[in-house]
């Protein structure tokens, strides 16, 4: 089930909230947790019931290991060797499951390419959210093995892993920030303020997803389907469209997750904090998919030594983190290269060659969540930066780098990605595929305008669509560069009647956008 579906909005969510608060109202706390778990399993199983077995199996495996550790702990101090064994078993087991479902075909196809073997690909269907719930459990079992995490009752652990707002697309939550919240009786009480903030944030997130991201998806799909025909300007617009689509899609989904969490009285960690307003790639990665970076920092970067063992090892550790991050995002070499490219950009940022004139407002703010990576600013080559540019210029450069790097993230092959990037620097003729790509931008809200144009001024149809597309990108730019992000908006909102009406309109507009009329492409009949 997706947040942006009728069944979720009109049936699942109201039912879940009603059951949760009703049971808590009558002090049936364990029943409330059990109910929440059951609803979460329905939420997950709705996609593909058989993958419930995988989710439950994964939970059972981790919980069983935690129970074994608890049993050993009860007998006395656990030897470090045994703890290491538990650590290897726990993380290895989780990673093996993840590898099998996500990376088997990648591994086989790479072997086939390198060793000229002919192993048949398995075409294993990727279970939804496996990367998220696996990492969540790795965090728990790693800390549990090392004696840093307690053994929780099964129901609490089950709720921590399956809590549906974060189950399939994050944020990647940690046991020590979630389980205490479920246990706190204060959170079981209906709190109107938290609830209205949740409703407000959910509406904003839904709008970001279905009104902005999904609207830009058409251009992006068309552009990446015709990479070899695009001119420089069209390529740039397609790349920009994807940068906005990705941000609004993922952050919109996280906003919805956070909003739902607030409706339940549970705070989920912030995952995106205006990343496109950052002035370096290092700063960017402190604001983009924050919980993933937090995970890698805590469970990979620090154990590797972090920045405490000299510059070269720091560089190595940063690159390892970003390679893994790229690999986590997808089982393809494009993702690995994308991760490496971002890692190199972060390392470059640490050299002290180029930097922004001011740290920006974000740096002055209190961190939104603990454990941000690379918290200390140190330069590898110099004590002070060689070149200092005004912050807006660095923001533009950072955004441009990110946007171009996303060619690797979006393209289905390295060749397509490099063609897209090459277009920017070599294809300076116009209009190329500009108008043809622009023509794909036909929001259904403007159907009558498009129809009128196609009837009375057909030659204007493509230019007008292109202008609309560019206006849409301008609107997106305004929202991400000059407006507060939605989480902060929800935090500051006065919740006046005007806010209620506006968010209501936005919500309705989004709901109306959940369903469409597809074109059945049978000879275009």
């Amino acid at each position: 089930m997706l947040f942006n579906s009728y069944i979720f909005i009109f049936l699942f969510l109201p039912l879940s909230l009603a059951g949760w608060y009703a049971l808590n109202h009558f002090h049936r706390y364990r029943a409330a947790l059990a109910f929440l778990c059951a609803m979460s399993l329905w939420f997950y199983g709705y996609f593909h019931p058989k993958y419930l077995l995988l989710l439950l199996g994964s939970i059972a495996m981790n919980y069983a290991l935690s129970s074994v550790i608890a049993m050993v702990e009860r007998r006395g101090p656990v030897p470090p060797v045994l703890r290491r064994l538990f650590l290897v078993l726990g993380t290895g087991g989780n990673l093996a499951v993840l590898f099998y479902f996500k990376y088997t075909d990648f591994f086989l196809s790479t072997c086939n390419a390198v060793f000229r073997t002919d192993w048949a690909l398995r075409h294993i269907m990727l279970p939804l959210g496996i990367s998220f719930f696996t990492f969540q459990q790795i965090s728990f079992i790693a800390d549990r093995a090392l004696g840093d995490a307690p053994h929780y009752p099964l129901l609490q652990y089950l709720t921590f892993v399956t809590f549906f707002p974060q189950l399939i697309a994050g944020p990647i939550v940690l046991y020590d920030e979630m389980i205490p919240q479920f246990e706190n009786p204060e959170n079981r009480r209906f709190r109107p303020d938290s609830f209205r903030r949740g409703v407000y944030l959910f509406s904003l997130g839904l709008a970001k997803k279905v009104l902005l991201a999904d609207t830009l998806a058409g251009q992006v799909a068309f552009g990446y389907g015709h990479t070899y025909y695009l001119d420089a300007l069209t390529s740039l617009l397609v790349l920009l469209s994807y940068a906005f689509e990705l941000y609004f899609d993922f952050s919109g989904y996280c906003d919805m997750a956070m909003g739902i969490g607030w409706m339940f009285g549970i705070a989920l960690p912030v995952n995106f904090d205006s990343p496109y307003r950052t002035a370096s790639m290092k700063e960017f990665w402190q604001h983009w998919h924050i919980t993933l970076q937090r995970f890698f920092t805590r469970y990979v970067y620090f154990p590797l030594g972090g920045s405490r063992h000299g510059r070269l090892r720091t560089v190595r550790n940063v690159l390892i983190v970003f390679l893994l991050s790229g690999f986590w995002h997808g089982a393809a070499w494009t993702f690995v290269l994308w991760g490496l490219l971002n890692g190199l950009a972060v390392v470059f940022d640490d050299l002290g060659i180029l930097t922004a004139s001011s740290p920006g407002p974000a740096a002055a703010r209190r961190p939104l969540s603990p454990g941000r990576p690379f918290a200390h600013r140190r330069y590898f080559l110099r004590h002070a930066p060689l070149i200092t540019l005004p912050r807006p210029a660095m923001q533009a450069l950072t955004f441009l780098f990110w946007t171009i790097s996303l060619a690797l993230f979006r393209a289905d092959s390295v060749a397509t990605a490099s063609q897209m990037i090459r277009n920017l620097f070599t294809r300076w003729w116009l209009p190329g595929y500009l108008f043809l790509t622009g023509e794909q931008f036909q929001p259904v809200e403007l159907y009558t305008v498009h129809k009128g144009l196609s009837l009375f001024a057909p030659s204007l149809l493509r230019p007008c669509s292109t202008v609309l597309w560019i206006l849409m990108l301008t609107l997106c730019s305004y929202l991400v560069f000059f407006r507060e992000n939605s989480v902060r908006m929800a935090g500051h909102c006065a919740f006046s009647r005007r806010d209620a009406v506006l968010s209501g309109i936005l919500f309705c507009w989004s709901v109306l956008s959940l369903s469409g009329v597809s074109t059945f492409l049978y000879f275009n009949f």
Binding site: A500, V517, F525
Partner: protein, 360 residues
């Protein structure tokens, strides 16, 4: 003291209670969504609830979305049933030739199971006089399974579950595109006989037909004529069950004239024998029923070898559709006995030989 009270009042105004926000939010949503749902219900461009009201025409351009609603709610007593090759029919041709009021029940690819499902649906609400059923050769050996859900059709319009109607009632495309389209077309005098016609946007010519055809250089060995027996059995069972269940309805089954290119391809892919065998079996089986009349236009060499009649290997210009109605009315190309069927299959075999020998 007064100042403090004033300040408190202001605070109360600037920070309204959570209930206040939630009530206003809920009211806004209820009003807006209620209005949209009511508008869709009243104008109902997919005929899901009723035939068109307010003098609007039954504008039919989205078959996957509209056929079922049309079968449920539009007035008719005869049906044109088939694949995309039937869509260019002008419904009034059938009304003139055979009487009655005809609409279309069409489905891309014309899978037998889908078409029989549509027929059953029509029989549930209407007493049918005539059914004009186009049999595509491929539909005889396709899987006898219903494909609506698998091909992504909007099942909320096909089932009778009111709960999932939300996908229709709160649908941006329906509101902003389908309703204005339906209203505008009605105002411009839409002719309901042209339902689902697509010929206006296509080019019928030898060049167009050949541009969609790649002739295989190799000729595969001919497959056994029994290669698709299982599928044929399933599809014939569906068809005959439909015919047997409604003796009061006259069924006019006809085989449309695909181009020589299509037959050339059948020969080169080794499919010709089982295609002809399946057709022969289907024809002989259908002739067992008294309420069936059977026509085969596939061996008309003047049509099928003149590629200017086609836009690809099988889709022909609307004049051919009209010609078929006229022939059916006049009894031309009608098959009345097994001997007629055998003669027709022999003729078809000669046609396919010629198609395979021809240069294009």
């Amino acid at each position: 003291m007064r100042k403090i009270r004033h300040s408190n009042t202001q605070t109360a105004h600037s920070a309204p209670s959570a209930g206040h926000y939630l009530r206003s939010f809920a009211l806004t949503c209820a009003v807006l969504l209620g209005f949209c749902a009511l508008l869709v219900f009243l104008l109902d461009p997919f005929f899901h609830y009723h035939r068109p009201w307010f003098g609007l025409a039954a504008v039919q351009t989205e078959k996957e979305y509209q056929v079922v609603g049309a079968l449920d709610h539009l007035p008719y007593d005869s049906l044109i049933v088939g694949s995309s090759v039937t869509e260019n029919n002008y419904n009034g041709w059938y009304d003139e030739a055979f009487g009655g009021q005809t609409i279309k029940a069409v489905r891309s690819y014309g899978a037998t199971a889908d078409l029989c499902w549509l027929l059953s649906r029509a029989h549930e609400t209407h007493r049918l006089r005539h059914v004009y059923y186009n049999i595509d050769p491929t539909s005889l050996y396709a899987e006898p399974e219903i494909t609506f859900a698998a091909s992504g059709c909007p099942m909320y319009l096909y089932d009778r579950n009111p709960l999932n109607d939300v996908s229709y009632l709160l649908n941006k495309t329906v509101l902003f595109e389908e309703i204005p389209h339906s209203v505008l077309m009605s105002l411009r005098g839409y002719d309901e006989n042209t339902s689902y016609n697509w010929c206006a946007s296509k080019t019928f010519s030898r060049d167009a037909a050949l541009s969609h055809y790649t002739r295989s250089e190799t000729v595969l060995p001919e497959q056994s004529e029994h290669a698709k027996d299982e599928e044929l059995r399933g599809n014939l069972a569906l068809l005959t069950a439909e015919v047997a269940a409604h003796p009061e309805t006259d069924y006019y089954f006809f085989f449309p004239p695909y181009s020589a290119l299509w037959w050339d391809n059948a020969v080169r892919t080794g499919a010709r024998d089982y295609v002809l065998y399946d057709e022969s079996r289907a024809m002989k089986t259908l002739l067992l029923y008294k309420n069936v009349r059977l026509y085969c236009f596939q061996a008309d060499t003047e049509i099928i070898f003149d590629l200017d009649n086609y836009m690809d290997a099988l889709h022909f210009r609307p004049e051919i559709n009209h010609q078929m109605v006229t022939w059916m009315k006049e009894g031309e190309y009608e098959l009345r006995s097994d001997a007629d069927v055998d003669a027709q299959i022999d003729a078809l075999r000669r046609v396919t030989d010629r198609a395979a020998r021809s240069e294009y």
